[in-house]
């Protein structure tokens, strides 16, 4: 599993990651479930994507389904289309990413409900559980959205 303490060695954080109109600067992440980072987008000639899906809802275990933009699961396809890098699961688009320049990437579409996370969005807003995020910014390398698995307050600490 990819966690905050176990990042892939080829992962280089981006300076600017825009997800459904929300901007994360300084190498931060979009979402964390406990310490697990379901989505990582890193620097590269093309955006490097790591994506994890819940494989066991009882124990909140995750399995890597996309590793460095390569599918690791038979139902998952990663392909390029008109400048976008897309991830599809059983015919449904769950992530569409565009590289603006070497330091910045934009996520134009996201729907992680098929992989166990209650979040979806388009270029104007991101819906997470009962919350709607749009036009926000976060800097300093933190994580924008968290789910507290063990009831610890780690994610609530000011960054």
């Amino acid at each position: 599993m990819i966690t905050r303490d176990n990042l892939p060695k080829n992962y280089i954080p981006l300076n600017k990651l825009t997800v459904c109109s929300n901007t994360i600067t300084g190498g931060g992440n979009l979402v964390a479930v406990g310490d697990v980072l379901p989505l990582l987008i890193g620097k590269g000639d093309k955006p490097k994507i790591w994506l994890q899906a819940l494989s066991d809802t009882k124990n909140n275990k995750f399995v890597v389904i996309v590793e460095e933009s390569i599918s690791k699961h038979p139902a998952v396809k990663v392909y390029e289309d008109s400048g976008y890098l897309n991830v599809m699961i059983s015919g449904e688009l769950i992530l569409s990413v565009k590289m603006l320049d070497e330091e910045s990437v934009v996520v134009e579409k996201l729907d992680f409900r098929p992989i166990g996370l209650n979040m979806h969005g388009n270029s104007s807003s991101l819906t997470v559980g009962g919350g709607l995020f749009s036009g926000n910014s976060m800097s300093g390398g933190g994580t924008l959205i968290g789910f507290d698995m063990q009831g610890s307050n780690r994610d609530r600490e000011p960054l």
């Binding site: 479930v33 819940l54 992989i115 709607l132 749009s134 507290d148």
Partner: protein, 134 residues
């Protein structure tokens, strides 16, 4: 849970979303087989009864054969002609019952083949999204 709308803000700390997990997982992507009660009954009792008889007689013949082994180990002439006939008859009846079983309709096998075919052909697909309770 109350709706939360966060717009055009400078966020400095992680926003904890309690209902982030949908309750679905990647392990349940293949369509399950809907086993009906009648199929369960066929699995339980659908095997031709002659297989059970063949099995019983084969085991009895095997035991009888071991007995003959003990009796004829030092001198094979200790085994009488009738005992040989009984052994061969036991084996023959067992094989015959087994062959009859193969010819009879085997509902258990039909259901098992159907289930096997389902899991070979059923495409992997994502589980339907479960709506969370607001």
């Amino acid at each position: 849970m109350a709706e939360m709308n966060i717009q055009d803000r400078e966020i400095t700390e992680t926003q904890i979303i309690p209902d982030l997990l949908t309750g679905t997982d990647i392990g349940t992507w293949q369509a399950e087989y809907l086993l009906r009660e009648v199929e369960f009954e066929r699995i339980k009792y659908g095997k031709p009864i002659t297989f059970n008889w063949a099995n019983s007689i084969a085991l009895t013949s095997f035991g009888f054969g071991l007995n003959l082994l003990g009796k004829g180990y030092s001198d094979i002439t200790n085994i009488s002609k009738g005992e040989w006939i009984a052994l061969v008859a036991g084996i023959a009846v067992s094989i015959l019952l087994y062959v009859i079983g193969l010819c009879l309709p085997n509902n258990r096998k039909k259901v098992m083949d159907k289930i096997e075919k389902h899991f070979e052909d059923a495409p992997t697909k994502r589980q339907a999204f479960k709506e969370h309770n607001q």
